[in-house]
């Protein structure tokens, strides 16, 4: 008898029973689950899944098994097809062809609610919560088991019960907007679990989390797996994948290129599978070529968008041919620091000098004209216009100047020439200059943006999270171009949440904590632990 048929007989019957009674049960279902689904049994079997989008084959005949009690990582670069595959499993997309068996039976998953009914739930990268409602209300929203008349007290009580059933805790009465990102994620997870999901898909759940929140999430994932759930962890971060998962499937360009137990892998072998070549290069450190101070910020005070202090007493110099890294947990003033240095945010007091000249108070355009480039934090919403063409985006910084424009005219020939240059120099993969930038992959978008800003930023480039969300190859490309730009004599400020990146690329590191610069190191002499402590605010211990 084939595996398939056997599971159908052994598992499907009892599982179905569990799924119908599971929601109503007050006792933790995990206990009974234990004897019904032996650890390692295949809850989901995806067979030969094909899916295409215009111009892209996202999934090419992928097979995937998800087992109870197992955390299964789906690893791959941006655009490898991870999210697509999981959206097929969770009913958001329909496969062009292929078969999905859940508990041994062929399942029709034509909508997320059908997937929920089959026990599959997905926590998306962008949360789907109503900001103004409470956590409890969000969990119960659109759930057919929510009683029609329900006091908010009962709602909270139900939510608390759900929390303790799964060992995932949130404050039921907090409004979602008051919750941290990590807590919002837990609300999403509870929303899915409460509906009886036994297969939980997490799409890049750590992308938005701080390191401690990530640790908390991993704990939750492990306990859910121990309770018999099958978890899918989509990621492109090798260390996290190795840390938390039991089994790893690697996708590359829509093809499954490997499936391994986590114990059999290391970062190098996974990276090789992911990108098809060894990419781990360690950037060369180099003595700064000049000692000339290019950009100098003195005693800066600035407010954030809510009118609260964001920078206090911040002084910083960047010299020619030097990368200064800013380490720190997000939200300690880094965003505002970058905005101040490119003229987008006003200083309350203090001043900015460029090669000795006071440029405080100039317009953003004035800063740009002086040769200060800016790779912004949010490339899709700030740095690029996704619906505009590659060419239009490429000339965003040069359209005012000859030869691209005359007095009034914009010369389309010159626009195309500049765009072609940027695309070529930045190694941007695009079928044409006229397609919308939104059609490019994230990595190619960032290459275009980074190249454009380096062309502009002959003196200074302020790079904020330049590799966030990029795959390994694109990350390497952007890092290399930053180093090359430094070697040409530019002053670069690198703001990143990734401490490894900061330490690997920078010549000097400053640490920001609560709106201030609390430490400064030469990278050569910087101790990782010390930087980490400063980032966490342990100033006195250093």
């Amino acid at each position: 008898m084939s595996d398939l048929a056997r599971w159908h007989v052994d598992i499907a019957g009892p599982l179905e029973t569990w799924m119908t009674v599971g929601n109503a049960m007050t006792a933790p279902p995990t206990e009974s689950l234990g004897d019904l689904t032996p650890a390692g049994s295949r809850i989901v079997q995806m067979r030969a899944i094909w899916k295409s989008f215009p111009g892209v084959l996202a999934n090419r005949g992928i097979d995937l098994d998800l087992r109870a009690g197992e955390i299964h990582a789906l690893l791959g670069e941006n655009g490898a097809g991870k999210t697509t595959l999981m959206k097929i499993l969770s009913g958001s997309y329909r496969a062009d062809s292929g078969m999905i068996l859940i508990s041994g039976r062929e399942a029709s998953l034509r909508s997320p609610s059908e997937a929920f009914a089959a026990g599959v739930g997905m926590v998306h990268q962008q949360f789907r919560l109503v900001q103004k409602l409470t956590a409890a209300a969000n969990i119960h929203l659109g759930w057919d088991e929510t009683p029609h008349l329900l006091s908010s007290r009962k709602l909270s009580a139900r939510t608390r019960e759900i929390c303790s059933r799964f060992g995932v805790y949130v404050d039921p009465d907090s409004k979602v907007w008051q919750l941290s990102v990590g807590e919002q994620q837990r609300v999403e997870i509870l929303r899915v679990l409460a509906r009886g999901a036994r297969v939980l898909i997490l799409d890049e759940p750590t992308a938005v989390l701080t390191p401690s929140e990530t640790a908390g999430l991993f704990q939750v994932m492990r306990s859910l797996a121990a309770g018999g759930c099958a978890l899918v962890f989509i990621s492109h971060k090798l260390d996290e994948v190795l840390e938390v998962s039991d089994r790893i499937t690697v996708l590359r360009r829509g093809v499954k290129v490997g499936e391994h137990l986590a114990g059999e892998c290391d970062q190098r072998s996974l990276a090789r599978l992911m990108v098809g070549q060894e990419v781990f290069s360690t950037p060369q450190h180099r003595e700064p070529s000049g000692v000339q101070t290019v950009l100098q910020l003195t005693n800066a005070y600035a407010l954030n968008d809510r009118g609260r202090p964001a920078l206090e007493e911040v002084s910083l110099t960047i010299r020619a041919g030097e990368i200064v890294g800013v380490a720190g947990v997000a939200g300690n003033g880094q965003t505002e620091l970058a905005e101040v240095l490119v003229g987008l945010r006003r200083l309350q007091s203090g001043n900015i000098r460029l090669e000795g000249e006071d440029i405080t108070g100039r317009s953003p355009r004035g800063f740009a004209r002086l040769g200060i480039g800016h790779i912004p934090e949010d490339r899709t919403n700030t740095g690029l216009v996704l619906s505009a063409s590659v060419a239009q985006n490429a000339v965003l910084r040069e359209y005012l100047d000859p030869p691209v424009s005359g007095r009034f005219r914009l010369r389309s020939g010159e626009v195309a020439r500049v765009a072609a240059e940027i695309v070529h120099e930045g190694n941007v993969q695009t079928p044409s200059l006229q397609i919308p930038v939104g059609n490019l992959s994230g990595g190619n978008q960032q290459r275009l943006l980074a190249r454009r800003e380096m062309r502009l930023g002959s003196r200074v480039v302020i790079a904020v999270h330049p590799t966030r969300g990029l795959d390994v190859a694109a990350t390497e490309a952007v890092r290399r171009s930053l180093l090359e730009h430094r070697n040409k004599g530019s002053a670069i400020l690198l703001i990143s949440e990734d401490l490894d990146e900061v330490l690997a690329l920078s010549d000097r590191v400053v640490v920001m904590y609560e709106n201030r610069i609390v430490g400064e190191f030469d990278t050569a002499s910087a101790e990782r632990q010390k930087v980490g402590l400063l980032m966490g605010g342990h100033v006195s211990e250093c």
């Binding site: 030969a48 111009g55 740095g383 965003l396 424009s405 397609i435 059609n439």
Partner: protein, 391 residues
């Protein structure tokens, strides 16, 4: 069960032929033109069916409508007369659309333009060309001035221009009525509150109702089309319209552009009012506009904001309106035309969505031969079939 090899499975499945709905990466302009033409066609067919069901002879009605609107010199002149303000209000609304702003107030701006032209025409004395030029200028300025409040509020305080422009329409009607009933009322006209006749008229071009003012929308459409596509200003407008945050990041002066575009938009609508008065009605009244301002929103929507596309759509609406007048004499209510315009818009919206997709009937494996954004070499499909699990 053994792990299957992806390549073999895929090939086996891929050889099956299937109808599929696919999203397009890009929508060609030919497709959108075709979709709009189809929308008009189907809306007319639907109207025909409804008329047929109510027991009227469709073919003869349609023939009569066509004959009287486009078949005679007089009919064509009438179409051109109606198309002129429609194209201009369309241009006015469409210009704002480029910045993702909604000018619902073209109606009011048009009325104010007509009002200002009347004021000049009644009170100024001088050589006709000078007074007429002054009338048109005053009309444009008045339209812009009427837009100034929404423009300032939108540029500086981010107040929704939809509300402000819409509400000012009612104020404009009241203002015009006040002058038509009060100070400017021509007592010699019985039964209707209209102003004195303005003695200056825009000269006719060739007879048959074609007047000099008809060249103005053509000129503005071409000017706008060129400057939106080929100037720095046009580039900034398109960036601001698509993503304001990027525009701020690039240091574009947002408030200045919002102000300028909205004032221009108001000016164009105001000019339309002045032309209507100086060339067609010669007297101010509360009903001088015939909803041109609101129909302009439909024209702009169908033209998708493209200045040159305003011309055919403005003319189309003019034909429909005039056909409605013809058909009214045959017992068809005038509102049926309004219904048809609504159906056209509905179908156009459906067509717009439809153009983003295409239906294919292909084997899946062959599908991969197309352009692959991540892999421009386009040979991925062949390679995939060879790639097996590396382990």
């Amino acid at each position: 069960m053994a792990e299957s090899h992806t390549g073999q499975r895929g090939a086996a499945n891929g050889s099956r032929l299937r109808w599929r709905l696919e999203r397009r990466a890009e929508v060609s302009w030919q497709a959108s033109v075709l979709a709009r033409a189809a929308a008009v066609f189907f809306a007319l067919v639907l109207a025909g069916i409804v008329i047929r069901l109510s027991g009227m002879p469709v073919a003869s009605l349609a023939g009569r409508a066509l004959q009287q609107t486009l078949g005679t010199r007089y009919g064509i002149g009438q179409v051109a007369i109606v198309a002129t303000p429609l194209v201009m209000t369309g241009l006015s609304v469409g210009l704002c659309m480029k910045m993702r702003l909604w000018n619902i107030g073209a109606e009011g701006q048009l009325l104010l333009g007509a009002w200002a032209a009347t004021a000049i025409g009644i009170h100024a004395h001088g050589p006709a060309p000078v007074v007429l030029a002054l009338m048109l200028l005053a009309g444009a300025l008045a339209g812009a001035a009427w837009m100034a409040v929404p423009a300032l509020a939108s540029a500086w305080w981010n107040v929704s221009e939809v509300i402000t422009t819409l509400l000012l329409n009612s104020v404009a009607v009241l203002l015009v009525n006040h002058y038509c009933i009060g100070p400017w009322r021509d007592q010699l006209v019985r039964g209707a509150a209209v102003s004195y006749r303005v003695p200056y008229e825009l000269p006719e071009l060739t007879g048959g109702g074609l007047h000099l003012g008809m060249l103005i929308p053509l000129l503005i459409a071409v000017l706008l089309a060129v400057s939106l596509r080929q100037t720095k200003w046009g580039y900034e407008i398109s960036i601001i319209g698509r993503n304001r945050r990027t525009a701020e990041y690039a240091g574009m002066p947002l408030a200045r552009h919002i102000l300028l575009v909205m004032l221009l938009s108001g000016g164009i609508a105001g000019l339309a009012g002045a032309i209507e008065l100086a060339a067609v009605t010669h007297r101010l009244s509360g009903w001088i506009s015939s909803d041109y301002g609101y129909l302009g929103i439909l024209v702009a929507g169908l033209a998708n904001g493209s200045p040159l596309a305003m011309l055919p759509f403005g003319i189309l609406f003019a034909v429909l309106l005039n056909a409605g007048i013809v058909l009214k004499t045959q017992g068809l209510p005038l509102n049926s035309v309004t219904a048809v315009t609504g159906v056209i818009l509905l179908f156009a919206a459906i067509g717009e969505v439809a153009t983003r997709y295409r239906i294919t009937r292909k084997a899946l494996a062959e599908d991969a031969g197309g352009s692959d954004t991540a892999d421009p070499s386009g040979t991925s499909a062949q390679r995939v079939c060879g790639v097996l699990d590396e382990t």
